[in-house]
């Protein structure tokens, strides 16, 4: 390659040495460049007409560009591949419309042959609304803030292979979205480099009830949300953004796009009522179900984990629950026993003084009987949150516990000391005996 002005350097797919073929190649490039110039001018003049798909593709509007870029080994001076797969482009949404390269590659520099480094393709010449919306997204803001890994149009849609989202082969088809987002949000190196919120959320989503429905192609595969189902696409915003679909305030409405009946139940609950009174700390869907790790409610890990979720606010009740057989067995990791929701309900949690509550005086027996069919009125006066350390909560239990503690301390203190003294005296006695007597038979 003698001319430094020539940025294009066709590769060497045949494997022949440069020395043997350089002369022939220079001739070829010169021919190609002339042809490219002709075709580029032709393409520009036919720009408007080319918006319509051309049934008769010969000669194509991009033949000139492809003379160089059509070579699979085409590289820029930097070594970066600048090859374009013409066949692939032809099947893309833009290729099927016979768009000229210049429709996206609008940099005036492309007009000069050969051309050096030029600006990347622009989408806003056609998709001006999407590009404008993108600027307000978490990705767009990160980019304009100097983040060089945040997703651009091409990160999600591809480049010369862009297909309509409705096509199964599209990167943005619902079946492929998880993989598309996972390119960053499932890539540990990028997650670490860009400090992506939530960590490997793509991996978590994959294992979630939604992700598994997609992965296993269950009947729900076309109904469950994938990434964009909750986060949106050109309106993806950080959850801290009040306008985000996944913000704390907006997320229940977002879940309700599918789970409307659950939201209606929740709104009647104490938690839902607090939210309506603008108490944003009150739990919504995600506080118990999580976001990316949503599991089936019958899932053991979820059923056990949700106890700690309840306990993150109701710490005292979670503590006293752990003092009971229910709480001990669930903490050991077994679920065939009452968790919080078994008694209090899940979406319809209400305080016990509300007659509609599952643990109200009126409903308590029926609630206990769901697991203990033989329960009677005395049985349900058992306190499932008894606090042995609180005198106010019950004198008898408090003093019983105190008595047991003193008994334990007393016995172990007396016999602990007794044992320690005996041990050292016995050792001494044995040493003395070894001096004047044969060992014990």
């Amino acid at each position: 390659m003698k001319s430094p002005a020539c940025a294009l350097r066709p590769g060497n797919p045949g494997g022949r040495s440069d020395a043997a073929t350089s002369e022939a190649r220079e001739t070829m490039i010169a021919t190609r460049l002339r042809a490219f110039l002709f075709c580029a001018l032709l393409a520009l003049s036919l720009g408007a007409a080319a918006q319509q798909p051309a049934k008769d593709a010969a000669p194509g509007p991009n033949d000139g560009c492809l003379m160089c870029h059509g070579d699979a080994g085409a590289k820029a001076a930097s070594g970066k591949s600048v090859a374009v797969d013409a066949k692939q482009f032809a099947t893309s949404v833009h290729g099927s419309m016979s768009l000229p390269c210049a429709a996206c590659h609008t940099d005036p520099g492309f007009g000069q042959m050969p051309h050096g480094a030029v600006k990347p393709a622009q989408c806003d010449s056609c998709h001006d609304k999407a590009v404008k919306d993108y600027a307000a997204t978490v990705h767009g803001k990160a980019r304009s803030g100097g983040n060089h890994v945040a997703a651009t149009c091409a990160s999600c849609h591809g480049t010369h292979d862009i297909k309509k989202s409705s096509e199964p082969g599209s990167r943005t088809h619902r079946a492929n979205l998880e993989a598309t987002c996972a390119a960053c949000h499932g890539n540990e190196a990028i997650i670490k480099q860009a400090n992506l919120p939530g960590g490997n959320v793509a991996g978590m989503f994959h294992d979630s009830v939604h992700g598994q429905a997609m992965a296993n192609k269950t009947a729900a595969k076309d109904a469950v949300p994938t990434c964009t189902g909750c986060h949106g696409a050109h309106d993806i915003r950080a959850k801290s953004d009040p306008e985000s679909r996944v913000s704390r305030a907006n997320s229940p409405a977002m879940c309700a796009t599918c789970h409307a009946n659950v939201k209606a139940e929740w709104e009647q609950s104490q938690h839902g009522k607090l939210r309506q009174a603008n108490v944003l700390q009150a739990p919504g869907c995600i506080d118990c179900h999580s976001t990316h790790q949503i599991a089936r409610h019958s899932d053991d890990k979820f059923a056990l984990g949700v106890i700690d979720k309840c306990g993150s606010c109701h710490a005292d009740f979670a503590g006293t629950y752990r003092d009971t057989f229910h709480g001990q067995v669930t903490q050991l990791g077994f679920v065939q026993i009452a968790t919080c929701s078994s008694c209090h309900g899940a979406h319809q949690v209400l305080p016990k003084d509300n007659p509609l509550s599952k643990v109200s005086a009126q409903n308590r027996l029926a609630t206990c009987q769901t697991c203990h069919p033989k329960a009677n009125a005395n049985f349900v006066s058992f306190d499932p949150h008894a606090n042995k350390h609180s005198r106010e909560r019950g004198q008898l239990l408090f003093f019983t516990n105190k008595f047991m503690e003193i008994l334990l301390l007393g016995v172990f203190a007396f016999f602990g000391l007794h044992t320690a003294l005996w041990f050292f005296r016995s050792l001494k006695a044995m040493r003395e005996r070894r001096g004047d007597a044969p060992p014990r038979s």
């Binding site: 077994f334 033989k374 049985f379 047991m404 334990l408």
Partner: protein
């Protein structure tokens, strides 16, 4: 025996090779059953009390889950109660048969504490501190009596609360619901006391103390050597000599097979107990 053996130096007395029966077959079988069922209840119950620890979770899972551990716990508890009731019936039946009702409660063969036990405690502690001779004990020492009554106490407290929790529908017909709150607390804490006591104090007193290490096989073989009897229970030896009943309890030496069996049962039990205590202490500290 012309000369009371206690008058002889220990070295001469021990050379006789004689053995005396300390526990009959039923005593030994009952202790073995008590031991196995106690360990069974401990291993299936303790994990609940330290359920936040990974070892407890893994162990309960290994046993087959809480329904399996609960079943093992209840089978062991039922056997233990049967053994306990059987023992009490036997004590009373023996007294009824022999007519020696007073001896049941007030004699060296009785488990009821007496004045000598008080003297022995004081004497033993003095000996620990190097301020007196070692007391000469009779058939049951004060610490053995404590162990014995601790089982009685534990049987009522743990057994009673356990039955309440096992059959709540029956008991709630005539007992208030808070009784199950009391039962839960008492069952767990008394269990910690019992397990902690047996696996440390009882093991030390009965087995792992320097004179007995690693274990005293007498509870499995039922036989004690003359040397050991003189050393540990001189007062009983002298009494039997005086009563002229020593010959009646003389027996053959434990067979090698019996001794091997004693160690095969006892040493694993001591090891299981020690590991359990270490895990409990670890779990309460960390």
């Amino acid at each position: 025996m012309a000369t009371p053996a206690s008058a002889l130096p220990a070295s001469q007395a021990g050379a006789s090779g004689r053995y005396y029966r300390r526990f009959d077959v039923l005593d030994r079988v009952m202790h073995a059953l008590l031991m196995v069922t106690f360990i069974g209840c401990a291993l299936t119950g303790i994990p609940l009390l330290v359920a936040d620890h990974a070892w407890a979770q893994a162990f309960a899972r290994m046993l087959g889950g809480f329904q399996v551990t609960m079943l093992i716990h209840r089978i062991c508890a039922a056997i233990m109660i049967v053994v306990f009731v059987g023992h009490v019936v036997r004590v009373f039946a023996t007294a009824a048969r022999t007519g020696k009702w007073l001896e049941m409660v007030w004699s060296p063969n009785s488990m009821v504490p007496n004045l000598k036990d008080l003297e022995d405690i004081v004497g033993h502690v003095k000996w620990f501190l190097g301020k007196g001779p070692r007391p000469r004990f009779d058939r049951y020492t004060y610490w053995e009596k404590f162990d014995y009554w601790a089982v009685f106490w534990g049987m009522f407290i743990i057994g009673g609360s356990g039955l309440l929790l096992w059959f709540p529908f029956f008991f709630s017909q005539f007992l208030p619901g808070w009784i199950f709150n009391i039962a839960t607390v008492v069952h767990g804490e008394e269990a910690l006391l019992a397990v902690g006591f047996i696996f440390t104090i009882h093991f030390f007193n009965g087995h792992v103390r320097p004179e007995k290490f690693p274990m005293d096989p007498v509870i499995f073989t039922g036989r004690v050597s003359e040397h050991e009897m003189l050393d540990e229970r001189g007062s009983e030896y002298d009494r039997l000599v005086k009563e002229g009943t020593l010959q009646a309890v003389e027996t053959d030496a434990p067979s090698p097979g019996l001794k091997a069996l004693a160690y095969a049962i006892g040493i694993p039990a001591v090891m299981i107990g020690t590991i359990t205590v270490v895990l409990i202490v670890y779990s309460f500290l960390f």
